[in-house]
Symmetry: C2
Subunit: 725 residues, 2 copies
C-alpha cells in the first residue's frame, strides 16, 4: 500500500517530523492536476458517435429536451445512447424472462434485479406465469467459473413504450445491462417508468477496480458485500483486496496459522468466509484479486513468524510497542515459506492475478543487518533496489509456478521480470507510460486515492491516457488495462467506510468505463446524485450513517443545527490529517468526531459557490441567485447561536466551537458585502480589512475541517470593493 504507509514509515521512523516540503514520491500525487473551481468544462461529445444532440443538450442543461426525453441518470454513461419517444411503465405487472444460455448466475442476477427494482419503486413484484414479459433478457454464454480479464462485457438494451429487450454475448454483459435498466427507472407524473432508449455499451478498459484496505481497520464481510453491490451498480469489475499490511494480517492460513492467529487481534476472514465472498463477487461479475504486501508493509507477518524479518523481534501489530521490519530476502527459508504460502492462497483465490505489493520498502532495515549487507556484496548488488529486484524475480517464479500472474506497485518494475506481470501505478501516468514502453501492462491508481478527500471533479479529471501516456503508440496504449480507486483505511471504520468510497467512486468508475470524451462535470454531479440514491436502496450507508454519527456526538436526535455545520465543511485534504495528528496513528482510537462523519465533499458549498459565480457573472444583477445566496448566508449566520450549547455539552463536539463561530462570522461578512453591493455604496476600507482578516482566519483548518463557503464569500467581499461604481 503505497500512500499512507509511506507517510507512516518516513514520518514515524525518520524520527523527525517534516512539515514541508512534501517529500518527493508523494508530492506528485498532487502535481499536474489543475484545481477545479467548479468551472464546468464543456461536454465534448463527438457527434460521430451515436450520442444524439438531444441527449447532449439534456445532459448539459439538466432539463428534458421534450417531455418524452427526460434526463438520463446513467453512470457510467454508456458508449452509445439514442433516445426514443415514450416511456415504459413499471408497475405491478412488470416481469422478466430469460432466454439463451441457462446460467444460474444470470438467473440469480435477475432475482437481485427484481429485488432492487422493488426497493427503488416500493412495488412488491410477484412471480408471473403465462404472460408476455415486460423485459426479455438474452445472453448467449454463461459466466465463466472463474472470470477472466478481458471477457466480452458488452450489451445492448432497447426500451420502448411497450417493452424492453436486453441482449448480450455473455451473462456478464447482461448483468451490466440490468444495472443500466435500474438506472433508467424514474418516478413520473404517471408512475414509475423507463424512457424509451436504445443503448449499445461496452467498457473502455477491461480492468476497473476498487482497492479496499482491510488491514489498518478491519471491515467485516457484510460491509464488503454491500460495497460489492455498489461496484456492480457502476460496472466495476475488480475488487483489489489489500489483505495484509503492518497493522494486520486478515486471512486465515491453514499452512501458517500464526499469520492471522497472532497478526490480526482476532479480526480476520476465515477461508469459508472468503470462499463465500468470492462467490458473492463472482455472481456480480466481479473478480477478487488478493494483495499480500511484501517485502515491506509486512510487520503483521512477523508477529507470528519473526524469522521472516530482517531485524530482531519480538514484533507486535502496534509499532509503538516494538520494532518494525521488512522481509529478509537473503534467507532461503523465506522462499520456502512464500512457496507454501502462495500455493495455499493461490488455491483459495481462484483469480489468475496475484498481487504481491512490493511498494515502499524501507531500506534501513536491510542496511542495518550485516548478513544482508554481506549477501548484497557477494551477489554484486549495489542498491537496495537491486536486492528487491532479486526478491521480486524469485517471488515471481513462485507465483508463476502456482499458475498465477504477478501484480505489484510501481517499484517492482524491472527489466529482468517477464512481460506477463502487471504494474500498478500510484506515482502517475509517467510510470505507467514507462512500463508500457518497456512492454509491461499497467493499471492507474494515481489520482484515484479516495483517502485524499478530494472533490469528485478532481478524481474525475484524472485520465489514464493523458500526460506521458497520451503519446504512446496504439500497441503500447493497449497495455494500459485500466485503473483502480484506492480506499486506504487509516481513518475508516465499518460505519464510515461507505461515505469515503461513495458516491465519488461512481465517477471514477465512469472514467474507466465510458468513452474518453465524457467529461462534463456538471452532468457528472447531476448523475452521481442519482446513482447515490440508488446505492442507498442497495444497502450502502454512505449517506445515512452520517446522521447517526452526528446524533451520537450530540447525544440527541435533534441535530438540525449540527447538520447545517456538517453540510458545509470537508475534511482536510491529502495527508494533512496526519500532519495535524502530531504523532503516530492510534489504530484503536474511536473515529467518532466531526471529521470522521462529514462527507469528503460538501454539496451545499458547491451549490453556494455556483450561485456566487452566477451572481458575479451577471454583474450582480441576478436577483434570484442573490436571494438564494442571502438565504444560505442567513442560515449560516444564525446557526452558531443554536449550535453552541450543543457543542459545549459533548466531548466529541467541543473542538468545533471555533469553526461554528467562523461560519457565522464569515456569513455575516458575506451578507454585509451583499448590502454594499446592493446599495452601490463603497465599502469602508477598515471594514474590508477586518472582514478579510476574519476570512483569512476561517480559511485555516480547525478540528481537521475546512469551511468550504469561505472562498466564495471572499469573492463577494472583494467584489464589493472592486466593483466599478
Amino acid at each position: 500500500m503505497p500512500s499512507s504507509s509511506w507517510a507512516q514509515s518516513s514520518r514515524r521512523w525518520a524520527g523527525t517530523r517534516k512539515q514541508e516540503p512534501v517529500p518527493s514520491g508523494r508530492s506528485d500525487v498532487c502535481q499536474d492536476i489543475e484545481t477545479i473551481h467548479y468551472k464546468y468544462t464543456e461536454f465534448k461529445g463527438d457527434p460521430m458517435r451515436t450520442l444524439p444532440l438531444a441527449l447532449l443538450l439534456s445532459l448539459l442543461t439538466g432539463f428534458a429536451v421534450a417531455q418524452s426525453q427526460p434526463q438520463l441518470n446513467l453512470m457510467p454513461m454508456p458508449s452509445s445512447v439514442q433516445q426514443g419517444s415514450g416511456m415504459l411503465p413499471i408497475a405491478q405487472s412488470f416481469s422478466v424472462s430469460v432466454t439463451g444460455t441457462q446460467d444460474p448466475a444470470l438467473a440469480a442476477g435477475v432475482q437481485r434485479f427484481i429485488a432492487q427494482l422493488s426497493r427503488q419503486t416500493g412495488i412488491p413484484f410477484r412471480p408471473k406465469t403465462g404472460e408476455a414479459a415486460t423485459l426479455t433478457v438474452r445472453a448467449e454464454k454463461g459466466l465463466e467459473a472463474v472470470q477472466k480479464l478481458g471477457e466480452d462485457e458488452s450489451y445492448q438494451l432497447a426500451v420502448s413504450a411497450s417493452g424492453a429487450q436486453l441482449a448480450a454475448p455473455t451473462s456478464l454483459g447482461a448483468l451490466h445491462g440490468l444495472e443500466t435498466f435500474l438506472q433508467l427507472v424514474t418516478i413520473t407524473p404517471s408512475g414509475f417508468a423507463a424512457p424509451a432508449v436504445s443503448i449499445k455499451d461496452q467498457p473502455r478498459f477491461p480492468w476497473r477496480g476498487l482497492l479496499i484496505d482491510v488491514s489498518r481497520h478491519f471491515i467485516p464481510i457484510d460491509g464488503l458485500k454491500r460495497n460489492l453491490d455498489g461496484m456492480a451498480a457502476v460496472k466495476m469489475n475488480v475488487l483489489h483486496w489489500h489483505l495484509s499490511d503492518d497493522q494486520g494480517f486478515r486471512v486465515e492460513s491453514k499452512t501458517f496459522p500464526k499469520l492471522a492467529g497472532m497478526g490480526s487481534e482476532g479480526h480476520y476472514y476465515t477461508q469459508e468466509e472468503i470462499r463465500d465472498f468470492i462467490s458473492y463477487a463472482h455472481d456480480r461479475g466481479i473478480r477478487v484479486v488478493p494483495e499480500f504486501d511484501t517485502p515491506g508493509h509486512s510487520r503483521s507477518w512477523f508477529v507470528g513468524y519473526p524469522e521472516l524479518a530482517s531485524g530482531e523481534g519480538p514484533f507486535t501489530l502496534d509499532s509503538e510497542n516494538g520494532p518494525s521490519s521488512v522481509t529478509d530476502p537473503t534467507r532461503e527459508e523465506t522462499y520456502k515459506f512464500m512457496d507454501k504460502f502462495v500455493e495455499e492462497m493461490g488455491k483459495l483465490f481462484p483469480d489468475a492475478y496475484f498481487h504481491i505489493g512490493g511498494d515502499e520498502v524501507d531500506g534501513k532495515f536491510w542496511d542495518s543487518n550485516p548478513k544482508i549487507q554481506a549477501f548484497k556484496q557477494a551477489h554484486g548488488m549495489k542498491t537496495n533496489q537491486d536486492l528487491q529486484a532479486y526478491y521480486n524475480q524469485r517471488l515471481q517464479k513462485i507465483v508463476a509456478k502456482h499458475h498465477k500472474i504477478m501484480v505489484g506497485w510501481d517499484e517492482i518494475l524491472h527489466p529482468d521480470l517477464p512481460k506477463s506481470i502487471v504494474v500498478q501505478s500510484w506515482r502517475g501516468q509517467q510510470s505507467l507510460a514507462t512500463a508500457a514502453q518497456q512492454g509491461y501492462r499497467g493499471l492507474l491508481s494515481y489520482g484515484y486515492y479516495l483517502d485524499l478527500m478530494w472533490p469528485t471533479a478532481k478524481h474525475y479529471a484524472i485520465e489514464p491516457m493523458s500526460g506521458a501516456a497520451a503519446s504512446l503508440t496504439p500497441e503500447q496504449k493497449a497495455l494500459i488495462l485500466g485503473g483502480e480507486s484506492c480506499q486506504w483505511a487509516e481513518w475508516v471504520t465499518p460505519e464510515n467506510v461507505d461515505s469515503h468510497i461513495w458516491p465519488r467512486n461512481a465517477a471514477i468508475a465512469e472514467r474507466l468505463w465510458s468513452p474518453q470524451d465524457v467529461t462534463d462535470v456538471k452532468s457528472m454531479y447531476a448523475r452521481m446524485r442519482a446513482v447515490s440514491l440508488e446505492l442507498e436502496y442497495l444497502g450502502l450507508i454512505h449517506n445515512s450513517a452520517r446522521d447517526r454519527m452526528l446524533q451520537r456526538m450530540a447525544g440527541t436526535a435533534d441535530i438540525r443545527a449540527l447538520r447545517v455545520l456538517a453540510d458545509v465543511v470537508e475534511p482536510v485534504k491529502d495527508y494533512n490529517r496526519w500532519d495535524e495528528a502530531k504523532g503516530p496513528i492510534d489504530f484503536h482510537a474511536p473515529l467518532t468526531h466531526m471529521i470522521d462523519a462529514v462527507y469528503p465533499e460538501s454539496d451545499a458549498a458547491r451549490e453556494f459557490s455556483g450561485l456566487v459565480e452566477q451572481l458575479v457573472k451577471s454583474e450582480y444583477q441576478d436577483r434570484a441567485a442573490e436571494s438564494q445566496i442571502r438565504s444560505w448566508l442567513t442560515l449560516w449566520r444564525n446557526n452558531d447561536a443554536k449550535l453552541q450549547p450543543l457543542l459545549k455539552q459533548s466531548a466529541l463536539l467541543e473542538d468545533n466551537v471555533a469553526i461554528s463561530q467562523n461560519l457565522a462570522m464569515v456569513a455575516a461578512a458575506g451578507l454585509e458585502a451583499l448590502d454594499y453591493l446592493d446599495r452601490g455604496q463603497p465599502e469602508p476600507e477598515l471594514w474590508k480589512t477586518q472582514q478579510l482578516a476574519v476570512i483569512e482566519q476561517a480559511k485555516k483548518p480547525a478540528a481537521g475541517l475546512l469551511l468550504m463557503m469561505v472562498a466564495p464569500v471572499e469573492q463577494l467581499v472583494e467584489a464589493a470593493s472592486n466593483r466599478p461604481r
Copy 2:
C-alpha cells in the same frame, strides 16, 4: 386477529359499506379514553418509594438538578432509582466480567451488550485480560431451556464513579439490567459516562408482549429479529406471532404441507428459520407464543385443505377471487386434523402457551350450511356462540393433550373451559374484569393497537387495572398477567413496520413494566426520544426509513421541502383509512405514499402545540415562545412554493397538493393572528370568518393525512378576536 379482520369481514362481506356509526365491538376501542391535548399530568411519584425528589424534579423539568445528576433517560422507568454523585467514564478501557452461574446465554448477552455499547459510543472495545472489570455482572441462575411465565426478572444495578455492579437472581434479570446500563450511558463534556445511580428493579406484570401480524403482509425473519432486539431493549418478554389469517399461512408444516405450500404465495418461514428465530428470542429473554387463528380468520388454510371449511371452495388468498369461509366445527375430521396440527406445532414452538385466536367468527358461513344447522339442532345448540364454545372445548382438549395452555381472544370466554386458559382482551378492561371474576387469567390488548395510529400519550394512558378492573379483589387482580401491544399488518411492509411499532411501543412497554404511578407524559416523551435513538443504533429503521421513502416519492435525494410537510402530518386515526379506501384492501398494492411513510405521531406539531399553550398561558407575553411560533409558521407558509413543483412531477406525491396548500394557508392565518395580537388591534370580523373557513377545510383529511398544526393555529385565530384589550 380481532381488529382489522372484523372490519374486513363486516365491511367487506356485509355488502354495504357503513360509514357511520362505527359498529359496536369496534367503537369501544376508542371509548372511555380521554383525548389528551398534551396537557401534562403531574408526576404522581410516591415518596415512600425510593424515588428521590431530585429525580422527580429532574424528570419534570428535563434539566439536571445539579451537574452531577443529569436526567435519566430510562424507559421503562425502574421501580426504584436513587441517584448518587459523580459519573462512571465509559472509555476504551471499559470491560465486563461475569461471575455466578456459567450461562452461555448470559455470556452471549454480554457480547451483544458490548457490541451495542460500541455502536452507541463509537468506541471499538477490545477484549481485556488481567484488569479489574469496569462492570461486574453476577447472576445466580441461568436461563431456563424454555422460558416460563412468571420467572424472576429482577435485578439490582449500582453505578459509582469507579465502577458498576449488576446482580440478579437469574440471567433474565441480568439481561434486563444490561439494557438499563445501556440507557444510562450518555455523552458529557468529558466523554461518554454513566451517572452514579442505585437501581432496584422488577416488572409490574409478568406478560409484556408485542403481537406482530405476518399474515396480511409478510415480514421476513430479519425484520422480526430487529424488532426482538427492540423488545429486549424495553424489557418486553413475549412475541405473540400472529402466523395465520385469511391472507396467508406463514409456517411450514411437514404434516400438512399444503398449508404454507398453497396458502402463502411462497412467503412463509421454514421450520429451520423458526427454530433459529425462537433461539434468537430466547437469548434475549423473549418467549415466542404462536397464534393460529381458528375457526374464523382461516381462509388461508382452506386453499390447500378446502375440506376444513364450512362452505364450498375453491378458495384463494384473495377474497376478490373466490369465497371466504370459516372452519367447520361439526366434522370429526376437523378435530383429527387439528390434533395432528397442534402436535406438530406444539413441538416446533416450545412455549407452554398456544394461541388459537377464536375471534370474530362470522356466523353466516355456519347459517348457510344445512349440515351445520342440523348438527346444532341435534346437539341442542341455540346460537353460533354455543357452536364455537363446543369447538373451543374440543380444541382446548387437543391443546392440553399436547401439553400446552390455550390462549384466545375475548370470544373464547365460556364457563365450560378450564381455568387454565388465558383470555386476551381486545374489547377493554371490562371483559378482562369479567374473566378475572370468573377465575380466568387475562391479558389486555385493548388500547394498545398500534395500527390505530394513536399518539403515544393515548396508549400510555391505558391502564390495565383501571375501569372495571380497578374494583377487583387482590386475588382477581393477580389473574391479570399483563398485556400486549398489537401490530396488525394491513398497511405495513418490511420497510415501514418499524415506524408503526417504534418508538410508541416503548411507552406501552413502560406501562406494563413500571409502577402504576409512573404516568408523567412530558417525561415519557423526553425519555422515549432517547430510547428511540438507542433503537436506531440497535438496527431498527423506524426513523431512517422515512427519508428513503420520501426520496423514492420525490425521485431525488433533496427532500428538504417534502420533509417539512411530512414532519407536520399524521395518518388518519382508528380505521378511517379503510373508510377512505372505498373498497376492499388490495394486499399486494405498493405502500409507498405519504401516508405510508410518515410517523404515526408528529413531534413538530406536538412541540408547536406546546409553544402555543405556553404563549396562551403567558397571556401572550412570552416573547421567546412567540418567536419560535413565528419561526415555525414562516417555515410552513413558505414551504408550499418550494414543494409544488416536486409534488406535480411524481405520481406518488400528486395527492398532496391540497394538503401542502392548506399548510401554507393555515400558517399564513396564524402569522396574521399573531400580528393582530401584537398590535392589540381588533381582528376584522370578515378576516376571522375567512380564516376559520380555511381552517375548517384544512381539518379534513386529505390523502389520508391530518394536518396536525391546524388546531393550535385555530386557537391563535380565536384568541386574536377574544382577547380582552
